[in-house]
Assembly symmetry: C2
Homo-oligomer: 226 residues x 2
């Protein structure tokens, strides 16, 4: 075997698809690049992996440094390898998607914050690199995942109402779901606990406030929504 360091290796980048849910809208966080290539175009936040870093450490570095976020849900998405995907040279991109509650963070606080902006996933601008492919795959994954994993709790406040959870599912899946059937399925799965408190302030009946049931194992869950 050859000496290990004699191989030439491609650069390795981590790119993130950061999803946020706010005011009945699913959004993705994009950065406006200040340098070439793709100067002044929108791209996903990312960074090059450093030699001693794990993927998740790089993710955290991106989230903290560029976006001022921490402690968010992360899941590896896919690795992209098109030799032409970066005009600067060979760059492999290992991608993750993140689910955050935008109300918890002020993205204007980060170092490149002037350039960070939430976009409705339905109205994204043209993206540099192959980031449109990455974003498409992330959205597809999220839509599939939500049917068998309680991802909603990463996007909502700690306490939330049944109608709020219901709207989140309708928004992400892009379909309308009967609220009564949805309610029964969610309650039967025992994924949420009624706290007894109610959300006040609305003009109508005050809905119950629920919290996520952290005790429950997160397997064996299937929503089965047509």
């Amino acid at each position: 075997m050859k000496a290990f360091s004699s191989y030439q290796n491609p650069a390795l980048a981590i790119d993130l698809v950061v999803f946020g849910y706010h005011e009945k809208t699913l959004s993705v966080l994009l950065l406006n690049r200040k340098e070439a290539p793709f100067k002044d175009q929108w791209t996903l936040p990312g960074a090059f992996l450093q030699m001693e870093e794990s993927f998740l450490q790089t993710c955290s570095r991106i989230l903290q440094t560029k976006l001022g976020m921490d402690n968010v849900y992360l899941e590896q998405l896919y690795s992209f390898d098109d030799p032409a995907r970066d005009p600067r040279g060979r760059v492999i991109s290992v991608t993750y998607y993140a689910l955050v509650n935008p109300s918890k963070f002020q993205i204007v606080a980060g170092q490149m914050a002037n350039d960070a902006q939430w976009f409705n996933v339905q109205e994204t601008p043209a993206l540099g690199f192959d980031h449109q492919d990455i974003f498409d795959k992330a959205l597809q994954r999220l839509k599939a995942k939500i049917l068998y994993f309680p991802v909603g709790f990463q996007l909502l406040d700690e306490l939330f109402t049944m109608p709020e959870l219901h709207e989140l599912y309708e928004c992400i899946l892009g379909i309308s779901i009967d609220r009564r059937n949805f309610r029964r399925k969610i309650l039967d799965a025992e994924y949420i606990i009624n706290t007894g408190a109610k959300r006040e302030g609305s003009q109508n009946r005050h809905p119950d406030l629920y919290k996520f049931n952290k005790q429950l194992k997160q397997n064996n869950f299937q929503l089965n929504i047509s």
Copy 2:
């Protein structure tokens, strides 16, 4: 931005989990290493990515050079990043799993073929590196995938019988499935076409021979086996 080549990059390997189905057994193809590290231990076939290669090109190179295989079903599995996963240094592994029909290939024909061997997935030896993790994830993925995607056709001959397909599903999922209900679900999904021919030679009634319906879109498929 720094000069692009000034970054130090980890090595990038591709590792493959090659599944084969033969004689009612799901097997995985392993290589016995001749060099350190993990000399004389079993590992997944793999290679380092070359600068101009795509992931799939590296996969094909591994399959052809080391195993004498070509034209197999491949799907990206996951990327592994533990900084300590390779004692030689920092190596990222992008993994794929492959589905092959062992009867189509003679693995003794490859360059390292003396060291290649099929193992029943239930009886795998200790694996070097973090390859046990990779294998576990591949098997888990395969079990999930078979429920909503017709992967079986990659593992069987072009013509196959309903009992053969049935046994494949029972074998991969590790459960028993009512053969009559299985039959109806598969036929209702219109994934296979009865060729009219029958498999001869058995002592009992000669089962019909089916082929895969390549016309059919491979989405919207759900097997729903409990």
